[in-house]
């Protein structure tokens, strides 16, 4: 009796999960398949579910529409630079908030947390004006710099820095270690897992950042992959094989990074709350 009840539960749980997995993963499969098919194949009845032969044709067609090499370089350059700056700034700021007493600390930290809830779009127009005034439109600076002070990054680093024992920092001070050296040589190395997690997160966030890039990058040589792709979709006659290839190219790097580093990512972002 108990056994058969358990069996039903097991089957039910697996059914929910398997259906969910299919729904989650099928679009990826279909996108990669579509990248190797022609537009006609994609819309054929019944739809093609196996790889086709149009991959090279799609690639050269896509390359004709957008300077793939340049656009992919832009995407990587923007995402990597942004990630490095954000990590540096988040960790040193998080360290100050976690390990020092200073006037106004709690108010300041609260204010930074509040900006996490601020819808980015609400400040977009003045931010665009600032970019224009600085002469940063159509430059990497406009995409990278406004966002490097990340409230989420500071919050996450602070939470993880709290775990660093004070005695470690005091001991370094007694040994005559300078304040920056304590941060850089002693605290930072212990933060590797958190930095890795935040780094992946920031890379993925910037890689997929779309609306802001759409607004500040108009020059075709400056566009990132998503912005270039969105201009293709706007054309009157869309070649879907080519577009799906572009979509695949823009998704592959984040999927690859996520798959390689998913363990650090999930546990790092959730503060190690997950256990197997």
């Amino acid at each position: 009796m108990v056994d058969s009840k358990n069996k039903i539960k097991t089957i039910l749980s697996y059914s929910i999960i398997i259906i969910g997995v299919i729904v989650s993963l099928f679009p990826f499969y279909w996108m990669f398949i579509g990248a190797t098919n022609s537009s006609a194949d994609i819309f054929s009845f019944p739809p093609k579910m196996v790889p086709g032969k149009s991959f090279m044709k799609n690639l050269s067609a896509l390359n004709e529409q957008i300077d793939l090499q340049r656009v992919i370089f832009n995407s990587f350059f923007v995402a990597i630079t942004y990630t490095i700056f954000t990590l540096a700034l988040s960790s040193i700021t998080g360290y100050a908030f976690a390990k020092f007493e200073f006037k106004g600390r709690n108010y300041l930290f609260g204010a930074i947390l509040l900006t996490m809830m601020l819808p980015g779009q609400a400040t977009m127009i003045p931010l665009f004006d600032i970019m224009k005034a600085f002469g940063w439109l159509n430059s990497y600076k406009a995409v990278i710099i406004p966002g490097i002070a990340s409230a989420f990054g500071i919050f996450l680093m602070r939470q993880n820095m709290l775990k660093v024992p004070d005695s470690l920092i005091e001991a370094a001070r007694i040994d005559g270690c300078g304040e920056f050296a304590i941060f850089y040589k002693i605290v930072l190395p212990t933060m590797r897992p958190s930095i890795a997690a935040l780094g992946i997160y920031m890379f993925m966030a910037q890689w997929g950042n779309f609306m802001w890039q759409l607004i500040v990058l108009n020059d075709s040589s400056m566009k990132t992959l998503p912005v270039a792709l969105s201009s293709l979709v706007g054309l009157s006659r869309v070649d879907y094989g080519q577009v799906l290839l572009g979509a695949s190219l823009s998704t592959l790097p984040v999927i690859a990074i996520f798959l390689i580093l998913q363990k650090q990512f999930i546990s790092g972002i959730l503060g190690g709350a997950l256990k197997e």
Binding site: G20, P27, A96, F102, T115, G120, A247
Partner: protein, 306 residues
């Protein structure tokens, strides 16, 4: 005279040492760059948006126009359409997705399930998909001769005008959002579930509580702060909705899927009505603040709320 020179030197070196990097001054130096960036790129634009909402942008410059932008908002049918669409998404999609992610998290937390981490990855992948790629895939799935209508035709169901009918276009946007974010919320819920002590369930088991009763009386109350957090994040995300309607429907048909974010973009960056778009931004800000406040309040003090 000698003494006064030495004193002057001392005073200077004291002044200098005040700014030297030490235990007392270090935090100020460490937070200074981030604070400067926040002031310039967050706080200043925030106040500037509010200010600009009282101006109108005419031939390249801002002209003070009082509350005319707000007056215009109140008689703007498209704005109200965007507002009601946003609330429709909030009332239907956010609870739907939260429930779904909680169910999946509970299923994935069950001891009888194997390959948990593989499943977890599978569910999480949609949320790392690049925005444009995901919108393109869905626009193809949902197009007139797309895959979904093909599947329906196999089942003998007439094709549905997913993206071109006001009702179905909304459904499409919600389906796309649910696909993208359910796994992400599931991971957050899963973390919460694993924080609940097993002894609570064991005690309930001894008292003869059924699984469903345990879920209702242990899981849900214990999970309240996590559910709150994930719903708050989803709410803010939904209020900011832009890419899906931008790529899938352009806000149509007849503005049935336009979001506040998309309307702001259209007014600001397509029509160059920067003042009017700022007024929309202010509304966006107020809604976010009110919704956040309500949800924090609903959470109660004990659950990480207010």
């Amino acid at each position: 005279m000698d003494i006064s020179i030495t004193r002057e030197k001392e005073r200077r070196s004291n002044l200098l040492s005040k700014f030297k990097l030490n235990k007392r001054t270090a935090p100020y130096y460490f937070i200074a760059p981030a604070v400067a960036l926040f002031l310039l790129f967050t706080l200043y634009p925030f106040f500037r948006t509010i200010l600009l909402s009282f101006y109108s942008y005419q031939r390249g410059s801002y002209v003070y126009s009082g509350i005319s932008n707000y007056q215009r908002l109140f008689s703007d049918a498209i704005f109200f359409k965007a507002l009601s669409n946003t609330f429709t998404y909030l009332l239907i999609q956010v609870p739907l997705m939260s429930t779904l992610s909680l169910i999946l998290a509970v299923a994935l937390n069950s001891k009888i399930i194997k390959w948990k981490s593989q499943f977890r990855i599978a569910f999480f992948l949609p949320s790392v998909t690049e925005m444009i790629a995901y919108s393109i895939i869905f626009s193809l799935f949902l197009s007139d001769k797309g895959l979904l209508n093909y599947l329906l035709s196999i089942l003998g169901i007439e094709s549905i005008p997913w993206l071109v009918h006001p009702f179905w276009a909304k459904v499409s946007i919600m389906a796309a959002l649910t696909w993208r974010w359910t796994g992400y919320n599931m991971i957050i819920m899963l973390a919460g579930l694993q924080g609940i002590s097993d002894t609570l369930y064991e005690a309930a088991e001894i008292d003869g509580a059924s699984k469903f009763q345990q879920f209702l009386h242990i899981t849900v109350p214990q999970m309240k702060p996590i559910i709150l957090f994930s719903m708050l994040m989803s709410t803010i995300g939904t209020i900011n909705l832009f890419s899906e309607p931008f790529i899938l429907t352009k806000g149509g048909p007849s503005n049935s899927t336009i979001s506040l974010g998309l309307y702001l973009y259209n007014q600001g960056f397509m029509n160059l009505n920067f003042g009017y778009a700022s007024a929309i931004s202010v509304v966006l800000l107020i809604i976010t603040a009110v919704m956040s406040f309500i949800q924090m309040k609903a959470g109660g003090k004990d659950n990480g709320g207010l």
